[in-house]
């Protein structure tokens, strides 16, 4: 048994840290906070220069052939820093799907542009009426010669305002069971008929509601077979689970530990001498170590040729629920000061607890709710029968 990630990973981690120290500038952070957009073109360009949009990809596709352990170290550092990687994340995820399921023409057209940082691809799975039940998508695509005409709405199309394409799940056959009538497309966003409406989240992030009115897409932009969209999604949803877990929690605990070292209670006693305070921070430390180990385990499963399905669900469930618990507890621990908002100059440690408390509400939902993860763990992990 060995819990180290190996020397190559350690070296790559150091490189990632050095990069972040330089490229993830206070200005980038400030812009992220102000706009709520977790994509930054300056930062993106800096990544491109390093060849780091997809360092895990083979060199011939524009990657660096990094192994899963190196990628884990890389991803841990980016998560821990809270760097703006939503845009690159969805772009590379869709590119991975293209690499595995796209036509030769699609690969040649999109992969080099994506890897050069010229295009951003966003996700168009969720709809106003379908979230966890993603296969219930109703956005229609109707064939018209060599083209398809798309009508519908997508929800949580994060970074649509920055994006060039949306990887979109559509219904092409409403007369068959829901999983059998779906088709996926790469839909150009900068065209007539696409409307993007900003949506704000509780933690200040910007996402979008996107509308598609008679949007035309050439059949060449179809990914996978007609009515074979669910197979594409199955691959896609697997890529969605990242290895690294719990970056937000790690940052939060670092802030709290910095706070406790100099904090005093109303009677002037150092908070760090209060066993209750220590126990609450310590419990978070245990949870964070577990989240981190779960992320590493997924990477290791992947590295050894497996598919971290149940393991990925456990990591996602555990780390997001832990963040929910911890952030609520730390807001409490700070007493009346805990509710000073991130952004208010008086906020303790920049309002880290308040921010995490808000952010956690999304963490237990996106990428599959906690309830969906529990279903997966119960059925695939424990072999329990599916509910009727």
């Amino acid at each position: 048994m060995d819990f180290t990630l190996g020397e190559r990973s350690d070296i790559f981690r150091e490189e990632a840290r050095a990069f972040l120290a330089e490229a993830f500038t206070p200005e980038v952070k400030e812009t992220m906070h102000e706009t709520g957009v977790h994509h930054n073109w300056d930062f993106h360009k800096a990544l491109v220069e390093k060849g780091w949009l997809a360092p895990g990809w083979p060199v011939e596709y524009g990657g660096q052939g990094r192994d899963p352990m190196e990628m884990l170290a890389f991803s841990e550092e980016f998560q821990r820093a809270g760097a703006p990687t939503y845009g690159v994340g969805t772009t590379i995820m869709v590119s991975s799907i293209l690499r595995h399921l796209g036509t030769e023409e699609q690969k040649q057209e999109f992969l080099p542009r994506a890897l050069r940082g010229e295009i951003i691809i966003v996700l168009g799975f969720t709809e106003p009426e379908s979230g966890s039940d993603v296969a219930a998508a109703q956005t229609r695509a109707v064939r018209d010669g060599d083209e398809w005409i798309i009508n519908g709405q997508k929800m949580f199309t994060t970074n649509a305002q920055e994006g060039d394409y949306a990887f979109m799940l559509t219904r092409t056959n409403p007369d068959v069971p829901k999983h059998q009538g779906l088709t996926t497309f790469l839909v150009p966003l900068r065209q007539e008929g696409v409307e993007i409406q900003a949506v704000r989240t509780l933690s200040g992030e910007r996402t979008n509601l996107t509308f598609y009115n008679d949007v035309r897409v050439p059949d060449a932009m179809r990914i996978g077979e007609v009515d074979g969209g669910w197979d594409v999604m199955t691959v896609g949803l697997t890529f969605e689970r990242s290895g690294a877990q719990g970056g937000e929690s790690i940052r939060l605990l670092e802030e709290m530990e910095e706070w406790v070292l100099s904090a005093h209670d109303d009677d002037g006693n150092p908070r760090r001498e209060d066993p209750d305070v220590l126990a609450r921070l310590g419990k978070a430390a245990a949870e964070n170590e577990v989240s981190s180990l779960m992320g590493r385990r997924s990477a290791w499963v992947h590295d050894t040729g497996g598919m971290p399905g149940v393991e990925g669900s456990m990591g996602k469930l555990f780390s997001s629920e832990a963040l929910t618990r911890q952030s609520g507890d730390f807001v409490d621990l700070l007493g009346a000061d805990g509710i000073r908002s991130q952004g208010d100059p008086s906020a303790i440690q920049g309002g880290a607890a308040d921010y995490a408390f808000r952010f956690a509400l999304g963490a237990t939902t996106y990428g599959g709710t906690s309830e969906v993860q529990r279903n997966i763990i119960a059925q695939r992990g424990l072999g329990l029968p599916r509910a009727k």
């Binding site: 969720t126 009426e129 379908s130 979230g131 966890s132 039940d133 219930a136 929800m155 949580f156 949506v199 704000r200 989240t201 509780l202 933690s203 109303d266 609520g328 807001v331 409490d332 621990l333 007493g335 009346a336 000061d337 805990g338 509710i339 000073r340 908002s341 952004g343 208010d344 008086s346 308040d354 408390f357 808000r358 509400l361 999304g362 237990t364 939902t365 996106y366 709710t369 906690s370 309830e371 529990r374 279903n375």
Partner: protein
Amino acid sequence: MDLNPTAEQDQLIDAFSSLYTKESSTERVRAAEPLGFDEELWDHLKEIGALEMAVDESSGGWGATMLDLSLVAEQHGRALGAAPLFESQVALRLLARLGEPAKELLRASLAGEALTTVALHGPTNGSLKMVPAGAIADRVIFLDGDKICVGGTSQRVIIENLGSMPVADVSLGGDVEVISTGAQARDAFEMLFDEWFLLLANALVGIGERSIEIGVDYVKERKAFGVPIGSFQAISHGLADAATAMDGSKLLSREAAWSADVMPERTRELAALAFGFSTESAREASYRALHYHGGYGFMLEYDIQLFFRRAKAWPALYGEPSKSFARAESERLKKIESGV
């Protein structure tokens, strides 16, 4: 035993409920953010007698009971009222208890000439932190050791906060006046805490119950996998637990308020218990309801987040629930030792 409100109590509830329906819709609550003060609502509340009711006739009011005030508080909570109702009411009652030295401030506060609030934490380094309604009040009452003092609020910093409440840090200036000292002052201020707990506890009942209603409506409508999501035990059991806790909160918070008028010897304990319990229950209820909204719960656009933020932030102005549970237990132990 009769858990139904009396006819008079029903009238009172109806009157305020109508007012809040008109003057404190969630649109209005949103419009009052981030400061959290809706002056029009406040004017209506004053007009309907929300200040006068807090003190009795000898003090210029019309002497509602703590239970009456608490039933109104529940409506205020349900509507997330953006007005300094509780701080004003407990301040007025404190002033009334202090008698002569507080007479002029009581008159001015009651007349609406001075918006008077209270600080829940004594001064540190010459400053009162996180004063509720401090962002809009003219005067703030606070306890400094064993002295009850009143100060102005001109040197204040408005604090943006999770609950979008009109909170400020107030630096004390030269205009601080002592209005009571010694054991009498401490006792009077302790009672102020009891009363603030009672109003908050009942307001949190309103928040939590309304949250459950919103959540239940949502999960009955929202479908996934071909059925309303409320048919999944993963959701229905969470709501059942939350509804049970809110139901308990309501019973406990009303009993605590009732005791203030009928068996005050139990009020210190019950008020602190109700405050702690309602805090935990309302937080859980609003969290459950929000989470079951899926991604929509995380969007500013849906109302449930307003309830969720307020449920967390409002009681935090005092401190975490364990603090009031400890206060209640101290009171219980005192009674056990004295053989009551």
